[in-house]
Symmetry: C2
Subunit: 132 residues, 2 copies
């Protein structure tokens, strides 16, 4: 079978919503907001999320148990993610810095482990919140 190129119904519904809200959102919040569209059970959400994460359309912010749309149109970097998280307002931005990603992709640990993926989360205060 060919690799799937189109999303299924539920996958598309969930992706549309995540892209619309444009900020990290939690699975049960997605569930509550998509009842009208036929998303009635947690599994419908989690299955769609799993798939969308797998194909790089969205990312999971691990420290927040939240999901956010990928900002890189081609979505080639789903295995190398970096985010900045404001600890005050919880704003999250995806970092795309070619030097950083190059550095991390090439990082070699002392045990000689071969990495195929990483996730980096920076925490601090965003500009707005650091003024307050």
């Amino acid at each position: 079978m060919l690799k799937q190129e189109t999303l299924s119904k539920n996958q598309q519904i969930v992706l549309d919503y995540i892209e619309k809200v444009n900020e990290p959102i939690k699975a049960y919040s997605i569930l509550h907001n998509l009842q009208k569209k036929g998303i009635k059970a947690p599994l419908q959400v989690y299955r769609a999320l799993d798939k969308l994460v797998k194909i790089g359309k969205i990312h999971k912010i691990e420290s927040r148990n939240a999901f956010v749309a990928c900002k890189n149109s081609n979505c080639q970097i789903s295995k190398a993610t970096a985010f900045s998280i404001c600890e005050s307002c919880e704003e999250v931005s995806e970092i795309s810095d070619s030097k950083l990603s190059k550095y991390l992709k090439n990082f070699q640990d002392k045990a000689g482990m071969k990495f195929n993926k990483y996730n980096l989360e920076f925490f601090g205060l965003c500009k707005k919140c650091s003024v307050k």
Copy 2:
């Protein structure tokens, strides 16, 4: 009051256990294994974990919802953590690489956000598992 230097009873019990098992362990696994020592409720575990994370004695592996003892005797780096995680056997190692930590501490994102903390998780296959 002076800054606390000694751990409380429950904090010490939980820390001793985490240090003993020497691998990432989940909160409810801690709970089940410490019934004899008087740890009977989730909150007793989570409160101790919160404190131990805060003072840098342990770290949370966010992608696994698990906790592991800090390997750095002085525990000064609790705000700058990096781990390697084997996706096959789930072995987790704390990475202490001064070049990496220096690079990340000094990283400046485009939005000019000031970071005071980061967590990095690398995924791949450990040496043992990549041979198989």
